[in-house]
C-alpha cells in the first residue's frame, strides 16, 4: 500500500517555523509523504496543494494567535474543491484566557476534525492520523525511515 500524503503548513502571516519543521520530521519518520508548505501559507495554497498531491489529510499550524481569522471559510474552500479529508489544527489557538474546551469546540464547529494545543507531541497527531486514515500500526512501522536518511 502507498504511503499516505499529508499537507503541512503554518497559516496566515505567521512565521513560526520550528514546530512545523519538527512535525515534518516526525511524520516523515513515521512513513508519511509530507508536503510541507512552510510558514505564511494562505488558505488557497493549502487547497491547491491538497488537490495537486491528492492528499489524505491537511495539518494546519498557527502559533501567533490569529488562527480563527486565518481559518475563517477554510472548510468552505476545501468543499468547493471537492476535498473531503481529515483536517487538523494545532498551536496557540486561544487568545487570552479562553478555556481550552471552549477553544477546541470553536475550531471543531469551523470544521476541523481534530484540534490540538501547543503542548501536543507529534506522536499524538501521528496516532490520530493512523486512526482517521485507518492505517494499521504495523504498516507504518514497516514504512518508517531511520533518522539519518
Amino acid at each position: 500500500m502507498m504511503p499516505r500524503t499529508v499537507i503541512l503548513g503554518v497559516i496566515g502571516s505567521d512565521a513560526h517555523v520550528v514546530g512545523i519543521t519538527i512535525l515534518d520530521q516526525a511524520l516523515s519518520a513515521a512513513g508519511f509523504d509530507v508536503v510541507n508548505l512552510g510558514v505564511q501559507t494562505s488558505q488557497a495554497e493549502f487547497v491547491d496543494a491538497a488537490t495537486a498531491h491528492d492528499a489524505d489529510a491537511v495539518l494546519v499550524s498557527s502559533l501567533y494567535g490569529h488562527a480563527e481569522q486565518d481559518c475563517r471559510g477554510f472548510h468552505e474552500q476545501l468543499a468547493a474543491a471537492d476535498l473531503d479529508l481529515p483536517t487538523y489544527i494545532g498551536g496557540n489557538l486561544a487568545v487570552g484566557q479562553d478555556e481550552w474546551t471552549e477553544t477546541r469546540r470553536r475550531f471543531e464547529r469551523m470544521g476541523f476534525t481534530r484540534v490540538f494545543d501547543s503542548e501536543t507531541e507529534p506522536q499524538e497527531a501521528i496516532d490520530a492520523l493512523r486512526v482517521d486514515l485507518d492505517i494499521s500500526t504495523t504498516e507504518t512501522d514497516r514504512e518508517s525511515v531511520p533518522a539519518y536518511t
Partner: protein, 481 residues
C-alpha cells in the same frame, strides 16, 4: 545576475534618486550636507571609534519605541541606569516591510494616544531631522537594528541622520526573517547599503556594519553562522566598508561558545581585507527563555560568564523579561547590569578551559568547508556562489522560514550540550566532518537509550526555556510550537 562587484557611483546615485520617491522624508537627504553633520559629532558618539578603541567588552541592549521623546528617555535610561556602552535603535515591523505609510499611521496614532502602537522606532518617518535630534539628545553612539531585507531607504535616511552603525546583511536579514524574498535581489539591495556606508567611509565618516550573527536564533551550528558572517563581511568590504562587526549567538555550551567566538575572530581577520577593522559581537541566548525572571537571570548569567571568558568586543544583552516579549526599560537595564557584574567579576581572572582549541579547530575546518564551496560554486564570485549554495543546500540555515533556503539542516545537542548536526541535507561538509557530528550524537543517543531522531531536536529546542541545556527525554516534546 548579481556579482560581488563594487556598485558604480552613478548607479548608487540613480538608485538613491529612485528611493527618494518612496517616502517624502527622503527628500531631505543630502550626502555632502550629511558629511558635514557627521563631522560635528564628538568622538564619544562615533560608533566605530568607540567600539574599536575599547579595552573591554562593551555592552549594548535592544530597544526601540515609536516616538522621539520616549526613545530619548529609553536610551538615556539604558545608558544611565543600565550602564550601556553602546545604544540601539530598533526599527518597527512596518518599516522592515517597507510599509512606510502604515508606519506613519502607527506613529501618528502613538503621538495622539500616547500609546505605543508600533514595535519600534520608524526612523524613515522621523526623517533626517528626527534622527539627528535623537543622536544629539542621547549621550552615546547608536546603532540601527532592524531586520529589514530591503533596507536601502532606511540606510539613506539614518546615515544622513547621524547614525554610524547599521545591523544586517543580505543573508542574515532575509533567510531567517522572510519567506519569499529573492536572495539575489536582497544581495543587490545590501550592495547599495554597503556602498553607501563605504562612500561615507571614504569621506571620513566611518560607518560600522554588523551582519546579524544569530540568524534564526535556534541551535544554529557555529560553522554556519560564521560562514554566513564572513560572506556578508566580504560582500560589504567589496563596497568599501572598513568597520565590520561579525556576530555570533550563544548556544549555551561554554567551550563551544568561546571556541566559536575565537574562530569567528580568526576567520574574519583571515578572510577580510587587511584594511577592514574586524570586531566581534556576542549575542546572549536568542532562543526561547524560561517563563520566569529568576531562571532567565540564570541564562543571562551564563551569557555574561561566557563573554568574560571569550572577551568579544561587544555583547548584546537580554533582559529577565525576555519570555514575555518587549521588556520594561527597568528590566532591560537590569539585564545589562547582571551581565556587567559577571563580566567585571570574571574578566580579570585567568580562566583557561580545556578543549577550546580542538573545538575551535573543528569549527574552523567546518567553516572553511562551507566557505570554500560557496567560493567554488560562484567560480570565485562570493555573491553568485552564495545564491548557488543556498539553491543547492550546500549552505543552509536550520529553521529558516525562507524559500530561498532548503531548511533541511537539523541541529541537536551532543552529550556535552554542544550543537551538532543531525540532518545535513546537502550541506557542504566533508565526510570526515559529518562523521564527527554523527559520532557525537550517537554518544548522546547511547546515554539516553534512544535513537538519534527529530525527538532530540524537539527536546533541545525547548530545553533552556524548560530550565536545562540538553533536552534529555522525559516524555514531553512539543509538536505545534
Amino acid at each position: 545576475m548579481v556579482r560581488d562587484e563594487r556598485l558604480p557611483e552613478s548607479e548608487l546615485g540613480r538608485i538613491a534618486d529612485r528611493l527618494r520617491g518612496d517616502w517624502p522624508t527622503a527628500e531631505a537627504v543630502d550626502f555632502e550636507e550629511a558629511l558635514g553633520y557627521h563631522e560635528t559629532l564628538p568622538d564619544e558618539k562615533r560608533f566605530a571609534h568607540v567600539l574599536e578603541s575599547a579595552d573591554r567588552p562593551l555592552l549594548q541592549p535592544r530597544a526601540g519605541v515609536p516616538r522621539l521623546d520616549p526613545q530619548v528617555d529609553l536610551l538615556t535610561h539604558l545608558w544611565e541606569d543600565g550602564g550601556a556602552d553602546l545604544l540601539p535603535t530598533t526599527i518597527d515591523s512596518y518599516t522592515r516591510d517597507n510599509e512606510y505609510g502604515k508606519a506613519q499611521e502607527g506613529l501618528d496614532e502613538a503621538r495622539e494616544s500616547g500609546e505605543d502602537t508600533l514595535n519600534g522606532f520608524p526612523a524613515v518617518n522621523h526623517g533626517v531631522d528626527g534622527c539627528r535630534e535623537l543622536i544629539e539628545r542621547v549621550p552615546g553612539p547608536i546603532e540601527v537594528r532592524h531586520g529589514t531585507p530591503d533596507a536601502r531607504l532606511l540606510a539613506l535616511v539614518t546615515f544622513a541622520g547621524g547614525f554610524q552603525s547599521f545591523e544586517g546583511g543580505p543573508i542574515s536579514y532575509n533567510i531567517p526573517y522572510t519567506k519569499r524574498r529573492d536572495l539575489g535581489e536582497t544581495i543587490e539591495h545590501w550592495q547599495f547599503v554597503d556602498r553607501l556606508a563605504g562612500l561615507y567611509t571614504e569621506f571620513g565618516v566611518r560607518i560600522n556594519r554588523e551582519p546579524f550573527g544569530p540568524l534564526t536564533g535556534t541551535l544554529v551550528p557555529p560553522s554556519i553562522a560564521i560562514a554566513i558572517g564572513v560572506v556578508e563581511g566580504l560582500l560589504a568590504a567589496t563596497q568599501g566598508v572598513k568597520s565590520l562587526t561579525l556576530g555570533y549567538g550563544q548556544v549555551g555550551n561554554l567551550v563551544q561558545d568561546v571556541a566559536a567566538l575565537r574562530a569567528l575572530r580568526a576567520l574574519g581577520e583571515e578572510y577580510l581585507p587587511d584594511d577592514v577593522a574586524v570586531t566581534t559581537v556576542f549575542h546572549e541566548w536568542m532562543g526561547g527563555f524560561p517563563p520566569d525572571e529568576a531562571r532567565a537571570n540564570g541564562v543571562i548569567g551564563l551569557g555574561g560568564a561566557t563573554a568574560a571568558v571569550a572577551k568579544p568586543d561587544k555583547v548584546i544583552t537580554k533582559s529577565p523579561q525576555e519570555f514575555q516579549g518587549v521588556p520594561t526599560m527597568e528590566a532591560n537595564a537590569a539585564g545589562l547590569r547582571t551581565t556587567r557584574q559577571l563580566i567585571d567579576m570574571l574578566i580579570e581572572q585567568d580562566v583557561t578551559l580545556d578543549g577550546i582549541d580542538d573545538e575551535q579547530a573543528f569549527i574552523e575546518r567546518s567553516t572553511r568547508s562551507l566557505f570554500d564551496t560557496v567560493f567554488d560554486l560562484g567560480d570565485g564570485d562570493v555573491a553568485h556562489g552564495t545564491l548557488r549554495a543556498f539553491e543547492t543546500g550546500a549552505l543552509d540555515v536550520p529553521f529558516a522560514p525562507s524559500e530561498s533556503a532548503k531548511g533541511a539542516v537539523l541541529p541537536a545537542r551532543d552529550d556535552d550540550g554542544r550543537v551538532r548536526i543531525l540532518e545535513f541535507g546537502d550541506l557542504a561538509l566533508s565526510a570526515d566532518l559529518k562523521e564527527v557530528h554523527r559520532n557525537r550524537l550517537d554518544e548522546r543517543a547511547e546515554t539516553e537509550g534512544r535513537d538519534c531522531s527529530f525527538r532530540m531536536v524537539a527536546d533541545d529546542v525547548d530545553a533552556i526555556s524548560d530550565g536545562r541545556l540538553i533536552g534529555r527525554p522525559k516524555g514531553s516534546t512539543e509538536g505545534w510550537t
